[in-house]
Chain length 377, copies 2
């Protein structure tokens, strides 16, 4: 396959794969696509290690890094910018009602909330995940990413800072931004973003309300940069649909959660393999912003009539992180969730990363040939 | 274009057009597609007239009729089957709180609710629209439809009764059913339905939560009958995407609301032409079941914290119909709504029905050729 995007990156297929797993990132890149590592879960030191590992395993083939740059979070609103003290400052914004409701959910599902208390005072809910969502801590990830030989810097929930875009361009790194509305695409292109990732309602993780079928062509027509289609893409038919809608390539995420190289826990893998397209929900229960995920007793509880309501990012995630610590290594199955898109319906067997790429490309070719044949009657 | 569906119906393009306007139905059929008249808004006598008019204007070319057969409505639950008295029986299930809240919404938007009272006691909210949604009154529409030379009997919200499916088949009429979940498609095919209309979240009117990008291939793989893709389709790129996903054709609806032949009011047309994909909402405020429509002060009011909550079908529509009567011929602009899909973003000019078909087909051909060219590099 050849189009401006495959030419620009020197890749065989315009398949971009978002994953938090370095093995998946490297395997997609080595299979002719472009792996993109989600940096959110890593501390600066860890991210440095992961990227060094990828550098060593892709033989100079292109890969990317994805950071999360929320335009609006509580720490920005409250002017919190002292990282050393950020935990206590954030926790001071969580009401006792919310802690109590969290304990109640856990207790109702058999978790002994008094059993695990180690380090909760200081550390609870302050994993790198939360820190990555604060303005004060997102920037170092960009610096580390740009110190490696990356081909793409992508950002979600908002564009990278202008200075980061400029620095990326100086180094020959393309910048992509993930959006859910046409106006966001126009805003980001005006800032200098090179590629727009138009993500539809059906996508996993943070996502908007416009479905890919409508969003993709609307964005393609509204901006003059290449557009990647995201949301609902797990196979070659969906890839062909995305390209038909005008996308220059596809941005995939969920589909990599059940590949052999991905290190999900057995219970998560089992739930993902068993889920259908109606087993996900777009909920604020995980991070405080609407994100599609498996529907669980946790997401149901935060939608229930007696829920105190979810908290803004990153406070809601602190409650999640607290709950994770309380649940320990064997959480109640009904509380185990995972951000994933409606395409989870297609995730019904474990394949190798390379096989997913090969299957997608083969089906894409078959579909294109079928469309042509139908046309010729 | 040629595929099993175009062969079966003897049509040039697998473009199915749902419309309440007979002119649109005839024009699509005459342009090489298949017009399908939505019967819901018509009394049996009116439906007879509309179909006679269509018979006289399509020169034997195929067209269809769409009926609504809700699986679950209050009148079914309550065992109401006496049509002569159905109005009073249904109204007895509406609480004073709901009438008061409706009056409050109207008053807040400047409607003098005391000004129009004629006939409200007997007739309010009991137009054919409500009757079409009750089990007792849906059946005659099928009888009338089958007394004309139709090629397709389609149903939404549930399959036609088994007897109607059998009668249709005896007359050589194909039966289609609109679904939003894989299990519904399997249920309907087991009943003898010939064609499944897989309608995604982005669609206008009553719709489910799974987006077309995921729903269509899932349904295609789950049933062994042709599948029409519905939801988010307004142009040739989307038609090509639908066919890439495995659909045998497309089912379109919203896009016909702004064609020259359609008789929308000037304010509705203006609002549709000005709306973007984020100006719709999936709400129970119109009929009591989730339906995508323009977001208005009315839909907002029923989602507001002090709302008494929407009522089950068909009671909520009775409140809508009551409000329409109270508002008269010039309703407040902010209360004027319309069921429409996210594709409303593409409805930015008035075209003739024929031109919409021609544009869709031309773009479809262009896209297919582009995909083939990209593949060959």
């Amino acid at each position: 396959m050849r189009n401006p995007l495959t030419e620009a990156f020197g890749i065989e297929y315009p398949i971009f794969a978002f994953s938090h797993c370095r093995d998946v990132v490297a395997a997609v890149t080595n299979a002719g696509g472009m792996g993109v590592l989600g940096a959110l879960a890593f501390s600066p030191e860890e991210l440095e290690q992961e990227l060094t590992w990828i550098d060593e395993h892709v033989g100079g083939r292109p890969y990317g890094v994805d950071v999360v740059m929320p335009v609006k979070t509580l720490d920005r609103d409250a002017g919190i910018d002292d990282v050393s003290d950020i935990g206590a400052q954030l926790r001071s914004h969580i009401s006792q009602d919310h802690w109590d409701y969290t304990d109640r959910i856990l207790t109702e599902h058999g978790v002994d909330v008094a059993a695990r208390d180690d380090g909760l005072e200081e550390g609870a809910g302050l994993g790198a995940g939360v820190l990555g969502w604060t303005a004060a801590t997102g920037a170092p990830q960009i610096d580390i990413a740009l110190s490696h030989d990356i081909a793409l810097l992508a950002s979600a929930l908002g564009p990278p800072p202008k200075a980061a875009i400029d620095q990326a361009h100086e180094q020959g790194v393309k910048v992509a931004a993930l959006i859910g509305r046409v106006e966001q695409a126009q805003r980001d292109v005006a800032l200098g973003v090179d590629i727009i990732i138009a993500q539809g309602y059906e996508a996993g993780g943070h996502t908007g309300e416009v479905a890919s079928m409508v969003l993709v062509p609307d964005v393609v027509d509204a901006v003059d940069v290449p557009v990647l289609a995201a949301g609902g893409i797990g196979g070659g038919r969906q890839m062909a649909a995305a390209m038909a809608l005008g996308a220059a390539g596809v941005w995939t995420g969920s589909i990599w959660l059940t590949v052999a190289e991905n290190g999900s826990s057995p219970v998560v893998t089992e739930k993902l393999l068993g889920a259908t397209s109606t087993d996900t929900v777009r909920s604020r229960a995980y991070t405080g912003k609407p994100a599609r995920q498996l529907r669980t007793a946790w997401t149901d509880a935060w939608e229930a009539p007696d829920s105190p309501g979810t908290l803004p990012m990153p406070l809601q995630f602190i409650l999640n992180s607290y709950a994770s610590q309380k649940m320990g290594a064997t959480p109640p199955r009904e509380l185990v969730g995972m951000p994933v898109g409606q395409i989870v319906s297609r995730m019904d067997q474990v394949r190798s990363t390379k096989q997913v790429v090969v299957d997608m490309v083969q089906e894409y070719v078959d579909v294109t040939e079928r469309l042509t044949a139908d046309l010729e009657g």
